[in-house]
């Protein structure tokens, strides 16, 4: 049944490529708009430095890899809960240049009690250029 085998092989290849290629293609598509993905995990933001242009609309797309974190950028009034396993978006237009702090404002643990580490030093940087 040589024809049968050829058909079977083609079906397999199409299937595997579709499953693995599909999401990958989708991911590459999403980068066209000005969307920046941020992952929060205990106890860092990934990436922990974001560079945007002043006046340009930017969408922050964020999720958590473990527990509930906060995405708090005081300078632009962004105050969101970063939920594990879910993606959320917030869109804003940075209207001033400079270096601004991204902070986690939902307590997300620390290595040991009273460490001053972990959540307490979970920071990121938002740089707005001209």
């Amino acid at each position: 049944m040589r024809i049968g085998d050829i058909i079977a092989l083609i079906l397999l290849i199409i299937g595997v490529v579709a499953i693995i290629g599909g999401p990958m293609y989708y991911k590459s598509q999403a980068k066209e708009e000005n969307v920046i993905e941020i992952r929060a995990k205990q106890w860092i933001f990934v990436p922990n430095k974001i560079v945007v242009k002043k006046g340009e609309k930017v969408t922050l797309r964020f999720t958590s890899d473990d527990v509930a974190h906060g995405l708090y950028i005081a300078a632009f009034g962004i105050n969101e809960i970063v939920e594990p396993g879910k993606w959320k978006e917030v869109t804003f237009v940075p209207n001033k240049t400079g270096t601004f702090e991204i902070r986690c404002n939902i307590y997300c643990g620390e290595p040991y009690p009273n460490s001053g580490l972990g959540h307490w030093i979970m920071r990121g940087i938002l740089v707005v250029t001209d």
Partner: protein, 513 residues
């Protein structure tokens, strides 16, 4: 032309348990056509194969959060529940027929996807006689169990297991050995499916054993012909009176020149009660221990994962990384000082403790407890059957109720986490899709009021079937009916004792468990 002796006819009768109802599904034209189709196995395996490819992908590239990860949800909630609640009790080894795990190995070994090619690729070695048992599967299942805490919570760990099971092991084993040696002797899932399949409502048997006996010379079902392969599970359909090692692969249905194979839906006739055909292979300690392993883990998992014992739960988390000091409450969690990143470190301490708990409870405590009941049984019978025989044969009585205990566990997990499954279908790879509109479904358990009743029904059914099994096994072991009843009573007590423990684990609280 060999004549069929009375001895054979008598053994034929003894080798079967009584059926209340039996219907050959191959009498239904569409099923008959499908099972005889050369390409049927490929057609059946193909969708599952793609699903497993998706699972492997999602394990490494999907969300790292367990309840938002396709692999965790499908493997450990949907698939597990489907196996324990539907596929195994009603289909026996029907999963093995459509299982994608050995697919790559078998396609490579046969050198074809849908054809018949009797020039196998690879070494084609026979499986060593010394390992013609399921001890290896007992070991592989226990090994998987020792990691169960992290398997069901860390997607990448399940991904690693899938890569080993679906890609690495099959390729190696299928290219070294003939047939489905991987499935019959190594696969951890196969071990318990085989055991529980003896309690199922589906069986593959020959329609008429005399036909097989009269068919001397070349046996197509075990040697293969132009229509198909010889049984890859190393069974001889003519002697098949137990489901344990028949993977329902349909090869014999295609090859038998007398169309003597039947796939029966049955009520009654559980093969738990009988020895493998004609005493060729006696029931062994390996299967008995598989029973103890499954029966014990049904209880242990319920305590660890749905119980109120934080310490026990913590040791199961072998990537917990918590180094708990022997005294004091301070907990240090490994983290990288430079980057402030929490590290999931493998805790040897936790692993060895949890492994120890599993091994001791399944291989020592459970068998020892059952041995006490079996010893009582032997004494009460007043008969000359060896203790080992009593111990092994009666262990099968635990199969129905332990399957029901797994059912109680699985339905709980399914109803509590079902909303996560509905959610993941809309966004399987955690990319922000919403295919079915359920991507933002909030967690909510379903039918919590019904769970105790459903579990209760499972356990009640388990008591009935296991008690029946105890008596049926006893009647076949002892010639005297009164002795058989006396011998069965301690086993019935063991069955009830097991049921009470399962009930307490799910519906009870307090110090004792």
């Amino acid at each position: 032309m060999a004549e069929v002796s009375e001895e054979v006819k008598d053994a034929t009768a003894k080798g079967e348990a009584k059926y209340f109802f039996r219907y050959d599904l191959l009498r239904i034209p569409i099923i008959r056509w499908l099972f005889k189709l050369r390409a049927y196995q490929f057609i059946a395996i193909f969708p599952n194969f793609l699903i497993f490819v998706a699972l492997i992908y999602a394990a490494f590239f999907g969300s790292p959060v367990g309840n938002s990860n396709l692999t965790i949800l499908i493997m450990w909630i949907v698939w597990w529940a489907a196996l324990m609640l539907i596929l195994v009790p009603f289909g026996g080894r029907i999963w093995c027929q459509v299982c994608p795990i050995p697919a790559i190995g078998e396609w490579l070994q046969r050198g074809t996807f849908v054809g018949v090619r009797h020039k196998p690729i690879g070494l084609g070695k026979r499986w060593p006689k010394k390992f013609d048992n399921i001890w290896l599967q007992n070991a592989s299942f226990l090994m998987v169990s020792s990691f169960i805490g992290v398997l069901v919570t860390r997607p990448w760990v399940s991904g690693v297991l899938l890569v080993i099971l679906v890609i690495i092991l099959p390729i190696i084993i299928f290219l070294i050995f003939r047939g489905r040696a991987f499935c019959r002797y190594i696969c951890p899932i196969s071990g318990f499916i085989g055991l529980y399949s003896m309690f199922s409502t589906l069986e593959l048997r020959v329609k008429n054993r005399e036909t097989c006996i009269k068919h001397v010379g070349y046996k197509d079902c075990i040697r293969g012909n132009d229509k198909g392969y010889g049984c890859p599970w190393f069974e001889y359909p003519g002697n098949l009176n137990r489901n344990a090692y028949c993977g329902l692969c349909t090869e014999c249905i295609k090859t038998c020149p007398f169309d003597n194979i039947a796939v029966n839906f049955r009520i009654g006739g559980e093969d738990l009660f009988v020895d493998p055909w004609y005493g060729i292979k006696k029931r062994g300690l390996d299967e008995a221990y598989k029973t103890f392993i499954m029966a014990t883990l049904a209880i242990l998992y319920a305590i660890v994962f749905a119980g109120a014992y934080p310490w026990l739960r913590e040791v199961s988390n072998v990537l917990g990384g918590k180094v708990a000091p022997l005294i004091g409450k301070a907990v240090h969690v490994p983290f990288d000082k430079k980057t402030n990143l929490l590290i999931e470190a493998f805790s040897l301490q936790n692993y060895l403790t949890f492994l120890g708990i599993i091994l001791i409870s399944t291989l020592v405590i459970a068998p020892a407890l059952f041995a006490a009941f079996a010893y009582l049984s032997k004494i009460l019978s007043g008969r000359d059957v060896s203790f080992k025989r009593v111990f092994i044969n009666f262990s099968y009585a635990l199969v129905p109720i332990s399957l029901m205990a797994w059912g109680a566990f699985s339905i709980y997990i399914l109803l509590i986490n079902g909303s996560y499954v509905l959610r993941i279908l809309s966004d399987p790879f955690n990319l922000g899709w919403d295919l079915f509109g359920t991507a933002h479904l909030k967690w909510q358990p379903y039918f919590t009021w019904a769970i105790p009743y459903i579990q209760m029904a499972f356990i009640a059914a388990g008591v009935v079937f296991s008690t029946r099994a105890a008596h049926e096994i006893s009647l076949r072991m002892f010639d005297d009916k009164k002795a058989a009843i006396r011998a069965a009573i301690p086993i019935v007590a063991a069955v009830i004792g097991y049921a009470l423990i399962v009930i307490h684990v799910w519906l009870g609280g307090g110090v004792f468990l």
